[in-house]
């Protein structure tokens, strides 16, 4: 699905990431951890074409990311659902419209997926908030709306960057259960988080691999977690 080969990334003035090789196989569940500023967000951005590697190769769905045009990148993003820590919505549209925005922009509004909007909203527990405006939502509601928006296109991969960063423990458990369910439906999931207790709680439910960024490189964390 997503493959990084000897990837390095530098914002100018020293590399943030070096020699990263990573392969997200279909249906896998990965955590990405490491201290703040280690490059978790940067790595995720490399995975959905928001950044281009300064060295090495990134292959998204078997295509070299450097060879993709802007419209190709847009097509990739329809297959990759992204949940950010500080998720942004279109504040002038309601929650249900924001959740169905990916359908809207890809001209698939009338698809079956559009009819499942109600089901999706009830899955993330936002049925009562469907007509609310994004600024009226609480932190947890925003994150769940983001998950709904990330999966409405039925993407192959879901990338989440600190999805539980702004919400309490109970809510983050709930959010995690949603992501585990997605994985059980066959989606590839990659979650960046520095919250180790969250990782431990997840490992009871799903076969998750933990990747740790340290010293600009990526390592497979062992059973110590």
């Amino acid at each position: 699905m997503i493959e990084l080969e000897n990837v390095a990334y530098s914002y100018g003035g020293g590399e943030l990431l070096s020699d990263i090789s990573l392969k997200l196989a279909p249906g896998s569940f990965h955590f990405l951890t490491g201290p703040s500023g280690a490059g978790k967000t940067t790595l995720l951005k490399l995975c959905y074409g928001a950044l281009l590697p300064t060295a090495g190769y990134v292959r998204l769905f078997d295509a070299d990311v450097r060879g993709l045009g802007r419209d190709d990148i847009a097509a990739v993003r329809r297959r990759v659902g992204v949940v950010h820590q500080d998720v942004q919505f279109l504040d002038h549209l309601s929650v249900s419209e924001n959740v169905s925005l990916p359908l809207m922009v890809s001209g698939r509004q009338d698809d079956a997926a559009g009819n499942d909007l109600g089901e999706l909203l009830s899955w993330v527990g936002l049925t009562n908030r469907a007509d609310a405006m994004p600024p009226e939502l609480s932190g947890g509601e925003r994150q769940r709306a983001a998950v709904a928006r990330a999966v409405i296109m039925s993407p192959d991969v879901v990338l989440a960057d600190e999805p539980t960063g702004n919400i309490d423990w109970e809510m983050s458990q709930r959010l995690l259960r949603l992501l585990i369910e997605l994985n059980k439906m066959g989606k590839t999931v990659l979650i960046a988080t520095h919250d180790l207790s969250l990782i431990r709680a997840t490992k009871a439910h799903v076969q998750a691999r933990v990747l740790r960024i340290a010293n600009r490189r990526i390592q497979l964390a062992g059973a110590d977690l």
Partner: protein
């Protein structure tokens, strides 16, 4: 967004419209009104520039045509020789190439010409008023140099005025005026393009977050750009349509052309030219389309 076929496709999509694509960009109140206002003001000015150009063109043509087809010969001679010299001049004109008709003005006609200056009671026969011969030309017209030579040999008192001397600068002035009119229209078009570019760039910058969200969920550049293009094109079209309508009304309300008013009252449209201003809002919309498209592409290329 390829040129050619791409533009046609875009125009079709633009006219058909996409409510949803429109809604993803939040409505903007005040700046939209400004765009409409400026488009209207520019269209209003464009109507006058167009009227000026067309009127100047008509004027140049009329002066060119009418005056080029006529000449005047003055017979300045003592009273007793005047009649003889007039007849001699007419005889020469009969055998001159390019002369359709030539006739001496009668006393009554000359009196009418002079009446505005000397009053109706002037006794012309007591004054050495030159006799005027009106020459109407045909074909390529007369050869003034040759005619002058023949006249000077046989009719010493004859002075040929082929009107060219004072016609040329007038025609030149009218042509220059017409050029200025068209130049104004081009400048107005450029000003509309600049205004729309500024407004569109401001709108794109103000909606940076919206654009980032749309890119994140997989929107293509065309989709995002279209929301802006449609908005600015329609605003400019609406503003320019109103401005053009008001401009045409204002031109229509100008006093109608008459001999007394001369050039100034000739400013306006005639016949089919009344339909020309319809082009102004369409051109303005086209300019807005291109300007917004360029601005949107420039902005979007800088984003991921």
């Amino acid at each position: 967004m390829k040129l050619g076929g791409g533009i046609l496709q875009h125009l079709r999509a633009l006219i058909a419209g996409d409510r949803q694509a429109d809604r993803v960009v939040p409505p903007s109140g005040f700046t939209a009104q400004l765009t409409i206002f400026v488009a209207g003001a520019m269209a209003f000015l464009a109507v006058f520039a167009l009227a000026l150009s067309l009127a100047a063109g008509r004027l140049a043509e009329r002066w060119g045509d009418e005056l080029a087809q006529s000449a005047t010969i003055r017979i300045v001679a003592p009273l007793d020789q005047r009649q003889a010299q007039t007849e001699a001049a007419l005889r020469i004109l009969e055998t001159t190439a390019g002369v359709a008709t030539a006739r001496a003005l009668t006393d009554e006609e000359q009196q009418a010409l002079l009446a505005p200056w000397f009053g109706p009671d002037l006794a012309l026969d007591t004054l050495p008023v030159p006799r005027l011969i009106e020459v109407i030309e045909e074909g390529d017209g007369i050869d003034p140099v040759g005619l002058r030579l023949r006249l000077s040999a046989e009719v010493p008192g004859a002075v040929l005025d082929d009107h060219g001397r004072w016609r040329a600068p007038l025609v030149q002035a009218a042509d220059r005026l017409r050029l200025l009119g068209w130049l104004s229209i081009v400048l107005i078009g450029a000003a509309v393009a600049a205004m729309v570019t500024l407004a569109a760039s401001a709108a794109l910058a103000a909606n940076a977050q919206v654009i980032a969200v749309l890119r994140l969920v997989g929107a293509q550049d065309d989709y995002i750009a279209q929301a802006f293009i449609r908005r600015f094109t329609l605003r400019t079209l609406a503003g320019a349509a109103v401005g053009t309508l008001l401009g045409v009304l204002a031109v229509a309300l100008l006093p109608s052309a008459s001999d007394v008013g001369g050039f100034l009252t000739g400013l306006g449209f005639q016949g089919a030219h009344w339909l020309l201003p319809i082009v102004i809002p369409l051109l303005a919309a086209g300019v807005a389309f291109a300007a917004t498209r360029a601005a949107a592409r420039r902005t979007l290329r800088g984003l991921t």
